[in-house]
């Protein structure tokens, strides 16, 4: 066969492929990303809906869904004539390159006027850059990487605290408990998965822990997809720490917690930092083993704020599980957006950005979060974002710290009872 024929053949296939693509794109009009559909605000949602982090992606999506349902049922965005918010969800597969490509598609093909997501920092970091390029506001409700708001971006708004605040709060908590009970933690173990998230937590811990006068006795990164975490558990046992800090995804958090209980490794306390430790799957799969575990997170069902119980009941009725930090973050961020849309008075990315940057929200259901208001600084960081420490008590996540948000029925147990002494 001559090369000419082969080339011609290939070209025809390309032609058909390209035409098919052009055909399925649908939106080919000149319209900019504004007022594409009257009475509808399209919000692009980027989440990891497949791959190992998919459970958290699904949880997050539920948070968005519930908020949008409520907002729409309450008459939509009144300033836009009762426009309904419409979520357009895209799957990042937890992969940065797909996340970027999907952000591109949401903006270009689906003409969303505002974006939100993408749970993982590794996906949020590059995908916010896409949004910045197209001047589409991007609300980040749960990605904690510090650098996300340190790039001088104008269109990125983060409602949750950055990583640095988490690690600092964990250390502050330990110091405070030590003072309160006279049993200060001196020896700290750092246990974290070795991707982006765990590594940035470790970097911050290594600054905060020594600063608080504690000693790092163990620095144990591990691959998130390990078949056996017993070696890590044995290392913890050998290091004999007073306080163990975790940054884990769901699967590894389960294996670690069960393993530690089985090996009966006792310490004053163990604290996760959201992620796997905050996943309902984690509680379901560790049972009694996670009792007395601490977890630093954004939210809990017993946060002493109005609306929390009602919202959680609604959530539980709909999905069969309690809300968690991720779903609450996403839920609240939709109310922040709704507020901005009301003030923007137009479904236009530039005006929405404008309104978001002037946010000073202290009402609506956005306040199910422990913070008292939402305000963004010039980098787009919510300066009032706050964190709570929960402790698992009788299989429930109970807020024990800080004083302002704590559940009045419970006191933090520090040091936690030895495994041998538990029933």
């Amino acid at each position: 066969m001559s090369s000419k024929k082969v080339i011609s053949l290939v070209l025809i296939v390309m032609l058909m492929g390209m035409l098919a693509l052009t055909g399925c794109s649908g939106n080919k009009g000149e319209a900019p990303n504004a007022d594409t559909a009257v009475g509808e605000v399209k919000v692009g949602v980027l989440l990891p809906l497949s791959g190992p982090v998919a459970p958290i992606g699904v949880t997050s999506q539920r948070g968005y869904e519930l908020a949008v349902e409520e907002i729409n049922a309450a008459g939509g965005i009144k300033a836009l004539g009762g426009a309904k918010i419409k979520l357009i969800t895209a799957d990042s597969r937890g992969d940065a390159k797909i996340g970027m490509s999907e952000a591109e598609r949401l903006i270009q093909s689906d003409k969303v006027t505002v974006m939100t997501g993408a749970y993982q920092s590794a996906v949020t970091y590059p995908s916010t850059q896409v949004a910045e390029k197209y001047k589409i506001p991007y609300i980040v409700p749960s990605a904690v990487k510090d650098e996300i708001t340190q790039r001088g971006f104008k269109y990125t708004f983060r409602t949750c605290p950055p990583m640095g605040w988490y690690t600092k709060a964990q250390v502050d908590f330990a110091v405070e408990m030590g003072k309160k009970t006279g049993k200060p933690a001196k020896r700290v173990a750092l246990v974290y998965e070795n991707t982006d998230w765990g590594q940035s937590a470790a970097t911050a811990w290594k600054v905060d822990v020594p600063k608080a006068g504690m000693e790092i006795v163990l620095d144990a990164p591990y691959p998130a997809t390990s078949s056996d975490l017993t070696p890590v558990i044995l290392k913890i046992k050998q290091a004999n720490p007073d306080f163990i800090l975790f940054t884990s995804y769901t699967s590894d958090a389960i294996l670690l917690t069960n393993g530690i209980a089985q090996m009966k490794i006792n310490s004053y306390g163990m604290a996760g930092g959201g992620g796997g430790h905050a996943d309902p799957e984690y509680m379901k799969n560790t049972g009694k083993n996670s009792e007395y575990h601490y977890d630093l997170c954004e939210w809990s069902t017993d946060v002493g704020k109005p609306g929390v119980k009602e919202t959680n009941d609604k959530f539980k009725a709909k999905y069969g599980v309690d809300m968690n930090g991720e779903s609450a973050n996403c839920y609240a961020s939709m109310y922040v957006l709704a507020d901005a849309l009301e003030r923007a008075g137009a479904n236009d990315p530039e005006k929405i950005r404008e309104a978001l940057s002037k946010t000073n929200l202290s009402t609506t259901n956005a306040m199910i979060m422990p913070n008292t208001s939402v305000q963004f600084d010039e980098t787009g960081q919510n300066i009032n974002a706050s964190l709570i420490m929960i402790q698992v008590r009788d299989g429930q996540r109970v807020t024990v710290w800080p004083e302002s948000a704590k559940n009045p029925d419970f006191e933090a147990v520090w040091p936690v009872p030895k495994f041998e002494d538990r029933k």
Partner: protein, 291 residues
């Protein structure tokens, strides 16, 4: 010192479990010279089968093989005869190649993602009473399900070894691995032997799954984590060699456990692949493999 002992014991137990998982891969390679890239996803399927029997029907995990083994043996038999054999036949005719490897890559993609579709991306852990049982000797703590898994794995590998060496069927399987043509001249249907071997691979995986369920989570990609280990193990021990798979399993289990103890779990992961590539380059037939 205590932790060192614990790490070694854990390495040995995990190692024999790895060996049990890898032994099916090695058997399939030994008999039909095919590296099965779907091995991990087959394990995932077995794990789901065991998990649902434990959670929905309240079976004891260690009893599930009674029902699951025959079912999955038949499944393996059918997959081999209907899907793999036609391609294998062509590969034999043309003299070696990649077709079957790629076929198993396709199977892996299909099965792993079908699990995702049907069972969702959730982690499932069967917390049964035995899960948190431990044995204390001095200050050494041994997890009971792990110990059971380790010891039973050794027994099962030994039983498979005995089966292949003592029974007529076993001898036929080994003979097929050595010389397909000769076996066919003796009136044995070589492709039937392949079906049975693949079925046996499934039996071993099901048994491994039953041992793992009390201590490990199920997830669509759970098997994949063990699959990469299995590749390393069978190459280390010698592709096609059963005692090699066992030895390889123990070595990898120990490397993993002890390196993670002294250095870090990430170094252990790196080291495992380094050992893998070194063995491939320096001794591709493995430690116990035949030329």
């Amino acid at each position: 010192m205590g932790t060192m002992t614990e790490a070694t014991i854990n390495g040995l137990f995990m190692g024999s479990l790895y060996g049990l998982i890898a032994v099916g891969l090695s058997l399939v390679f030994g008999v039909m010279k095919v590296v099965n890239f779907a091995h991990g996803s087959l394990l995932t399927i077995c794990m789901y089968a065991v998990y649902y029997l434990v959670m929905k029907a309240n079976w004891n995990s260690y009893l599930t093989p009674i029902l699951v083994v025959p079912l999955l043996f038949i499944f393996g038999y059918v997959v081999q005869s209907k899907i793999i054999n036609p391609v294998l036949k062509r590969e034999f005719e043309l003299g070696g190649g990649h077709a079957v490897i790629l076929l198993t890559v396709g199977m892996m993609l299909v099965m792993e993602n079908l699990c995702l579709l049907f069972f969702g991306a959730y982690y499932k852990v069967a917390q049964v009473p035995i899960s948190s049982l431990t044995l204390n000797i001095g200050n050494i703590v041994i997890s009971v399900p792990r110990m059971i898994a380790g010891i039973v794995s050794v027994i099962l590998i030994f039983l498979l070894y005995a089966f292949l060496n003592k029974t007529d069927m076993g001898k036929a399987i080994r003979a097929t691995g050595q010389d397909r043509e000769a076996v066919r001249l003796m009136g044995i249907n070589d492709f039937k032997i392949y079906n049975i071997s693949f079925g046996i691979c499934f039996i071993m995986l099901t048994l491994a799954a039953a041992l793992m369920i009390p201590m490990y989570y199920v997830h669509p990609s759970a098997g994949k984590i063990f699959e990469l280990r299995s590749f390393v193990i069978v190459v280390l021990g010698g592709l096609g060699s059963l005692n090699g798979a066992f030895l390889g399993g123990i070595i990898i289990g120990l490397i993993e456990s002890v390196t993670a103890q002294f250095l870090s779990a990430t170094t252990a992961e790196f080291l495992i692949f380094l050992v893998f590539i070194l063995v491939l380059l320096l001794k591709p037939n493995g430690l116990l493999g035949k030329k």
